[in-house]
Symmetry: C2
Subunit: 331 residues, 2 copies
């Protein structure tokens, strides 16, 4: 038998526990070319909101009754594909379930770094780390000496962005919510300055932290945090739009201060970045990230819950900002 988390109803806004349900389902014998993976770790991402939403999305949404789409790490326990033997650890699109019956197309990569925890394939050596490295370098184009501002700086993407920017010779300013995350930014992730957006005066704090302006803004939030950053952009600044975590709903569409004048006056650029467009660069990015992790230059935090039942409230909890580090479910 398999155990699965399926989408039970389409959420308006952030998915809550009641939008999912757990099903026990029989498994079928493998057909030729199929592979069975026993999931060890399941990923929880802010982007999952987009994967479920039926509007303003970048792929067809998960259907009602379908297993929740997710990245996972697991071990091949049965195989009808000679290229993928039993015992191989893999990461890929295996969904929120105990056993995934897939074809090789669902595999993102082998997980062969046996000196490192397998769960890292979901965070710093997975979609989050790759997003940070490719988004920062491809869309942010940081130069030595640049000031790089990062929102959700304690999160798994933001914390990697800040550290990679420092490796590349930039000064880093992280924005996070509350004193614990701010301390994590400063002490664990090495941001030069860490600011609490929940405290008063974010705009003034940013201006004083960025006296020469913001050259790169790597944004995972949109909303009021971004509204404080835009007036601080330096001439020729690059804004990487990677997520909109602070906006609970896009229906009705929210308003905010207009950005056009900032971008025009500063000859600045704002660009959407979706890492799923760049699978061709994935392996190279993972190799670079792995090297930095082994050298101790790239740190990470994980927030691991146990059991498939933990999936139900995991996405809602992420948007409540509860997690300290990459949220992962261990099976």
């Amino acid at each position: 038998m398999n155990r699965q988390v399926v989408l039970d109803s389409r959420p308006k806004g952030i998915a809550q526990a009641e939008n999912f349900k757990i099903l026990d389902t029989p498994i079928s014998p493998l057909k030729s070319g199929e592979i069975r993976v026993a999931n060890w770790f399941l990923s929880v991402e802010p982007a999952m909101r987009g994967w479920i939403a039926d509007t303003n999305n970048y792929a067809a949404p998960v259907a009602i009754g379908e297993v929740m789409k997710s990245l996972a790490v697991g071990e091949i326990v049965e195989s009808a594909d000679a290229n993928w033997p039993v015992g191989q650890m893999v990461t890929g699109w295996f969904g929120w379930q105990k056993l995934a019956t897939i074809t090789a197309a669902a595999i993102v990569r082998k997980v062969d770094q046996t000196d490192l925890p397998a769960s890292l394939a979901l965070g710093v050596l997975g979609i989050n780390g790759v997003t940070a490295l490719l988004g920062l370098t491809m869309a942010g184009e940081p130069k030595t000496g640049d000031t790089v501002v990062v929102s959700t700086a304690a999160g798994s993407v933001g914390s990697a962005v800040g550290q990679i920017a420092r490796i590349l010779g930039c000064r880093t300013v992280g924005i996070a919510g509350g004193p614990i995350k701010v301390a994590q930014c400063r002490d664990l992730f090495g941001f030069d300055v860490a600011l609490d957006y929940k405290a008063d005066g974010l705009g003034a704090a940013l201006q004083s932290a960025c006296p020469d302006g913001v050259n790169v803004y790597f944004d995972n939030t949109a909303g009021m945090i971004s509204d404080s950053v835009y007036p601080c952009l330096a001439q020729g600044a690059r804004v990487v739009l990677c997520g909109t975590a602070s906006i609970a709903q896009w229906d009705p569409w929210p308003s905010g201060p207009r950005v056009e004048r900032h971008l025009l006056v500063k000859r600045a650029r704002m660009q959407g970045f979706v890492v799923l467009d760049h699978f061709d660069k994935w392996d190279g990015a993972v190799a670079q990230l792995t090297q930095w992790v082994r050298e101790g230059k790239l740190r990470y935090a994980e927030d691991i819950s146990d059991g498939l039942e933990s999936c139900l409230d995991a996405l809602a909890g992420l948007y409540r900002g509860e997690n300290l580090g990459k949220r992962i479910i261990r099976l």
Copy 2:
């Protein structure tokens, strides 16, 4: 004696006639290196609003009591610089006045196209045409077959953008205000589709005019016109921010629908473009534009008023949308 239009008070919003005054001033003998230009034509630009404003600007503003900064075309009538002989026609930063006492640094270029009206050096062969060509190609990066949408499509920048985009093999959709400008877009400037933003249903009209989405949006307005375009962006779209003509004031800062989600979902880019950053490409651009004008591929409209007194209300009239074509003052 000289006659000059000087800034008399700093406007809040768009400069009105009462923010300027006309002064008769004596002229001094030339010092070594100085040049005296008798202005034939003075330029009126939407960007002048920014040149006067004391905030959100890209250069130090014109001081109170100072001659209004402007481009102009004139003839050298006196010279203490051997490189610039009397009789040479030139265009440059000569200001709203009859006689400009300058150095060579204020000259943008010689005006030697004697087969074409000298006034074109202020419009289609000047800052407007160069803005259109460089902004479209450098920031818009149009590809053959792209759909290019242009706001203020009957204006001197917008009309050139639309025609250049067609020369480059794009499909063009122009947005202008009122039936006369819309007809001008279609009949004079050859837009494939011309839409009236003052009519109802701009958003629906845009969606039906751009069934495959908008690949390039060359924007001179921001505001509600842009708010109708953003939801139509195609994947990988480029938005060129060239002006914000529809926003009367940036104090208090106006709000509008947030753009971040559109840009993220469509992996789109939005970039501010200021042509004054690109003087190194000016001569090459003018040569290309001149060729297209001579070949009849690039048409223009001029809206010429007579006398220095016409300057006073010229900028306000521009923002009232009165002009049909490049607004020029003839002396």
